[in-house]
Symmetry: D2
Subunit: 277 residues, 4 copies
């Protein structure tokens, strides 16, 4: 995956080098952002087509990258990424991700689940995943988030998933793990930020409620949006109904957002995401 | 259609009276709002089943209504409602409504089309509908809206449809025709109010854009929402694409909203709508 | 819930009797099928508003029912219905239902899970639900389905959910439990019946794949449809992708279908369903 | 746009040649079909970046194409494609396409409208488009379709749009204009083929009805599917409702399908379409 200033010859240079090393392209996708004159590209290569020349190819590619002022990354999709899930009481997203994980629908290494409640412990145990119960109160916040950070560092976590974790992440943690933390928001952003989004939606009388998967930044619910969806509601539905109906799409939106990241399809650019599918 | 404080016996009283007059119920729908303890009901009756007793039934119903403190209306669906459409340059909603009108998909009496531009005149002419061209500038606003009001009054308009009319209606006009003016907003309210909603959606990087049909009140884009829908977009789409893709749902959302009103299904309650389908 | 030949006065009679007993209507919904001249009605009543007169009301209602030739049922929603889930290897629907069950999102008594495989045993154990492992092969089919029927009878099962159970139910079992067995089909019926529906969808090149929740009858995949939904696919998606993407909607469609039944909203009429929402 | 047997170096060769001619890639998309080992590619180039070398580039590209056994086409998007629309009585799709055409939302040269009825003549006249009224009966079918073919040939038509044209095209015409005729079918193919698809959907009790835009082949409703969509219905909806609700998506599905073709995004492969977006 790469991004660079747009100019003639980028694709030719990249694919030319690949062809030279006999690299078999499985999938390729590119996008040119004309407003910022930036070019983005994702190429998926059969690793064994490069054979023993993988190292050499990577080295030569880094020279090419310099020449075109690229930001780039070369990842080995056989190496699973390490994920940590945080959850509070509501476990619908957690339960959904656990099954997708266990059935290999989503392909990652689940290091542990962290929660400030015990509600979902038994479920997590059934999947043989470590469960860290770290209760949070007014006084111990700083300390607990230090513990959480330590867990992240020890695990060398690639992706932190806030699967309905109802505590606000400290700014420094957001910054230190920028681009690595994703959240599922129970509302169609930018409408209805904050904790009571279904109540707000109910009061405004909207006819659809939504869910948003986004990167976590220092600004609450303002990070780059990865995926969204909505569900139709009507005047009969109470706030409780909205919450229940919204949960169906929260699960799916979060799972889709996580999938895009696991497949190395997401580039953050100007507080927006480019999903090279 | 009626609303009243909720209590035991409302449905029995209404349907009992109907049965007494031999009234054949085609469709009935009710809703109890537990928060405000209000009951809403819509009953559709075969008029000829009441035969010559229609007047007498209406009279006795008004007594029942007093007893239950009802707000109510009895409308004859064979009487077409009178509609006036206002439009500026973009005619996609107008064109869509005109065909639905002419093919009797939507059943109303189209009194005229009013526009501050001439772009859609020829199309309107083809449907043999009067076209009032009333150009608006800084200086003549008050005067033109006076003319518009006069047209409304002369027509005894039932429903005013702002089908992408890009001028803000004066407060007094909104108040005088409260509950009679609907608008199609090119955005998923409450996100992205105002004229440049697609630009705002583009900048925020949302993954769906929407359209909202709502009643017009003094507060711009804050009136009761009648219908909404969304369409999926991605990073490749420019603001122009969003505008184009949004137009597809603007047309449908407006047509659906208008249909609900024409079928006497919409009740406004606490700045929200109840659609008794 | 009732159905009867349509005539003047049904609603008045029912709601009149209710009012006489001081019955508070929470929700009511009706439908008149003009093709077969049949009337359907669902009334939800606050039980405590009938107080000690519940028995007497029920008795008098049964007389009313005779008079109007009604088919009817009076159910107490505080009495949970008994459900048995059958599953083969794929546990995505099972896992989803288990969490909805345990979190009280769906309100029922889960008697047990029956499977011809052991794949999902550990997950079911975590929810403390009995798991009957009954392997099926060419020779023991009849015997195993006899065991299954015995479990149904012992449990006095109200609803049997085939949550991706890949064995065809014997005709007699379908007949004996007619209107009590629902299935989730991994395809948009009536397209693509049978086991390999995603392969068929792939080969035909459709742009949406779907899932269908339906009642099980003797005719495979031909029973009354309760709920359906679809998801968009494209030329990049393999059969495996279709299967994965379809599973997201299978889960939701099955959960919605089950919810309608648990809330006593579904009437079967002429191999179709009426969902009185 | 090109397709060829998949092998290492196709992208490199194509983009290398482009870079050599200083060709600026606006958009590029590829797909590898692993089942048939075929590679598909669409590259959109700023024409003026090739400057006066356009002819020379095209020539050299044809040599490259030979080398890689490509099927390919090089089209100039500033050259509008010529379209002919056929319609019977129902004009909702026609009306929709006419407005999209006139407002330049869809970019094509509309040669004429052909109809076996006069219903939509006045509307077409308003857009100043020739209207050929060719009534069809049992006896003159062959003759009329000969006239239609003559119009196609005279116009050098690129795309024929059957916008609810209720006559079956003769086999020879389908073959002679293979890959050039598209139809909007009022049903979710492969369910419900033929004229009465809404009646079939009503009888089967489906919960969604759909529309399908597809290429016309000799086999009725069996051609490659370009675009599909669905809309939710319920037990209250009559066949007439289904027809009306389906028309909303027919319009959009046809317009989207036509857009893909006008933008040269569609490749037919094995009775399926690849839409390189």
């Amino acid at each position: 995956m790469l991004s660079c200033p747009d100019r003639v010859g980028v694709v030719a240079a990249v694919t030319g080098l690949l062809a030279q090393y006999n690299g078999w392209i499985i999938d390729a996708n590119q996008h040119a952002d004309s407003l910022t004159n930036t070019f983005f590209m994702r190429v998926e290569i059969k690793k064994d087509s490069l054979q023993e020349n993988y190292e050499k190819f990577a080295q030569q590619f880094s020279q090419l990258a310099l020449q075109f002022t690229m930001q780039w990354s070369l990842t080995d999709s056989s190496q699973k990424q390490t994920v940590i899930i945080l959850v509070s009481k509501q476990g619908h997203c957690l339960s959904d991700l656990l099954y997708r994980y266990a059935s290999n629908e989503l392909n990652f290494n689940l290091h542990c689940v962290i929660s400030n409640h015990t509600d979902n412990r038994e479920l997590v145990d059934a999947y043989h995943i470590p469960y860290h119960y770290l209760p949070i109160n007014e006084n111990n916040k700083q300390e607990v988030f230090q513990q959480i950070e330590n867990i992240f560092l020890t695990a060398q976590v690639d992706i932190v998933v806030l699967a309905r974790f109802m505590q606000i992440f400290p700014q420094e943690l957001c910054q230190r793990f920028a681009g690595k933390i994703i959240n599922i928001h129970h509302g169609f952003l930018p409408s209805f930020v904050g904790a009571n989004s279904y109540g707000q939606a109910f009061n405004r009388g909207v006819k659809l409620v939504g869910a948003t998967c986004h990167y976590v930044t220092e600004d609450l619910d303002e990070g780059p949006i990865i995926e969204q969806d909505v569900v139709r509601i009507n005047h009969k539905n109470s706030v409780e109904d909205l919450k229940r109906m919204g949960q169906d799409i929260e699960k799916i939106v979060l799972a889709h957002g996580l999938r895009y990241i696991l497949e190395n399809r997401v580039i953050i650019h100007n507080n927006k995401t480019i999903i090279l599918d």
